[in-house]
Symmetry: C2
Subunit: 358 residues, 2 copies
């Protein structure tokens, strides 16, 4: 079947509409002709379904993809992903977000697409803002957003990227029960270099055993992390002091904490919101993230697996895709969700990445 390159399309005739669009969902009918994108045309050409002519001369596959790669940005990446999706048996349509993919059993003109697929090279970072814009675009028309990353060796990794509350509520089951005996008489705690010591056995026991705050240093003393200490001070459970016995206001403590950990303000904003949502956030150091987060910790004798790992990122964050890939892979390999959180000022965004098989 003969087709012609015209501008950014490869054009087929009425016969192409019935053979390729009606039967296979390729291209878009325009008047009585068929518009094929370069990716579609390359795929059809590689399977000998069409011949492509350019200025009256037939072009072979290698020449065509070189031509297409010069005309269209990221053609080679899109072709790799398009081909993969087709070989997996999907109907795929080109769109603003690279591709619309139809659910199995459906196709263009029959049902509606289920997912938007956006294609990226592992070498090109994606900013948080770009990503949330893409998610919004898909969410507004109730589509799943899929990020397809093509790696150095042309393998594709697919990620379902969504807001963490897109599937069910994003809430824990541990509203902090500050018992009156914990709350009404704040205990003295001392900022001891990078950590905080609470030397009050009774309160230490209550905070550690009931709410999983801190880590016991010995029988009597609890070591708290910086966010834990500030959260407890703000809730009037602790009074904070410096090593020389000076009282520290919450603001003074925050300032000291920020000198110890420059990311502290950002991390604390998220820590606090997670606590208010009823989660139990603890450090994610062992996983290379800021937090590991439990939905509920009923007893310390049997600490459950944490449900997700969370990294707090600034608004101007760029996802460097190899590092992001590693983080998601680790989370998934220990059966946890991987979430990135950012403070937008008026609200917090929680973006979840899940590696999926198409």
């Amino acid at each position: 079947m003969k087709t012609q390159i015209k501008g950014n399309y490869v054009i087929g005739d009425a016969e192409a509409v019935s053979a390729l669009y009606d039967a296979g969902g390729f291209g878009r009918p325009r008047d009585s002709s068929l518009q094929l994108r370069f990716t579609e045309a390359a795929y059809l050409l590689s399977r000998n379904k069409i011949e492509i002519f350019k200025n009256g001369k037939e072009t072979d596959f290698d020449s065509f993809i070189q031509f297409a790669a010069q005309q269209e940005e990221f053609f080679e990446l899109k072709y790799i992903v398009y081909k993969d999706l087709k070989e997996r048996g999907y109907y795929v349509q080109s769109s603003a977000t690279d591709f619309r993919v139809y659910p199995r059993g459906s196709k263009p003109g029959k049902g509606s697409a289920k997912s938007f697929v956006f294609v990226r090279s592992e070498r090109v970072p994606i900013t948080l803002l770009e990503l949330t814009a893409l998610i919004n675009e898909a969410q507004n028309v109730r589509k799943q957003f899929i990020l397809a990353i093509v790696d150095e060796e042309s393998d594709i990794t697919y990620y379902d990227v969504k807001r963490a509350d897109a599937v069910g509520s994003f809430e824990g089951e541990m509203p902090v029960p500050f018992l009156p005996e914990v709350k009404n008489k704040p205990s003295k705690a001392v900022l001891f270099k990078e950590r905080i010591i609470l030397a009050d056995k009774e309160k230490a026991d209550l905070l550690y055993k009931r709410s999983f705050f801190g880590k016991m240093m010995d029988e009597e003393r609890l070591l708290l992390s910086l966010p834990e200490a500030l959260y407890l001070a703000e809730n009037n459970v602790l009074e904070l002091f410096g090593m020389n016995g000076e009282k520290l206001s919450d603001e003074e403590f925050s300032k000291s904490a920020s000198l110890i950990d420059s990311e502290f303000p950002r991390k604390y904003t998220i820590y606090k919101e997670l606590k208010e949502k009823g989660f139990v956030p603890k450090t994610g150091f062992k996983f290379g993230t800021h937090f590991r987060v439990y939905r509920k910790v009923e007893t310390l004798d049997k600490i459950p697996h944490s449900e997700f790992l969370l990294s707090v990122v600034p608004l101007e964050y760029e996802f460097k895709l190899p590092a992001t890939s590693g983080a998601i892979r680790l989370a998934n390999s220990v059966r946890k969700r991987m979430i990135y959180a950012a403070d937008l000022g008026n609200k917090r965004e929680y973006i979840e990445f899940e590696r999926i098989k198409m």
Copy 2:
């Protein structure tokens, strides 16, 4: 038992030597007295084994550790680790590399230490050069080098850090068998944006199926990564061309590759050495590392698990410990070794991290 703070030590008398050193391996005898480091003294004080006097006045535990933390850098971290090692039943001696740890069943004055333990906060990066100096120090006296990282919540993660050839040879089993039919007539391959297309079915088959180079794009074409292509060109298996048909020398190709991936020169040096050692390096994108490396790939029908993950780092690299922790955790969770490689100019260093339980 009474002891006195003197300078950077807590000093006990002859009775302390027999009760603490002879029986428990604490401190170091000096003349007829016992020198305790602050960590040891704090530990003994917390267990009510000693009383500590400062200028004739007894000091309690909280005051003592505050004093010690002001006198000795990282005292609080060392104390946390010292206490943990003691509670696990080890004999521990202070040394230049923080601690010497004796194997179970042995103790100071009886056998010799097995490991050097170096303590660090997760917040303080460690440079590659500092780390190799520490490994050398341990290796020179045939000790194991252990890095103990104290995280934000005072949990400790222990890593056995060593050269990758410290346990058995660091070699693969796949000397590249460039058959005469592959090598003698270099095939044309084209740099197609970020990847290389070899459109020679026979050679593509041989390279892919026999040596696991690249990934088949379709029945006839092999997609190669930048390091694969350069390696094959250097071995006269390929001739490289640009998209406009211009021949590329190995140097010209390297230059183009470095524009696509600024880390290319560093990565290629290691890639090439790994190939020469008989390994099969492939991209580690899915794991967030530069390479995943196989010892042997006999057949593509049954690709074995890769043996290690490898990241290539510059000489001036700083390990940011949370990220390093995540990388090692991921490698271990998929049962692979985690190795960092750097080019020192005259040789390449391969440093392996393994998380261990003490």
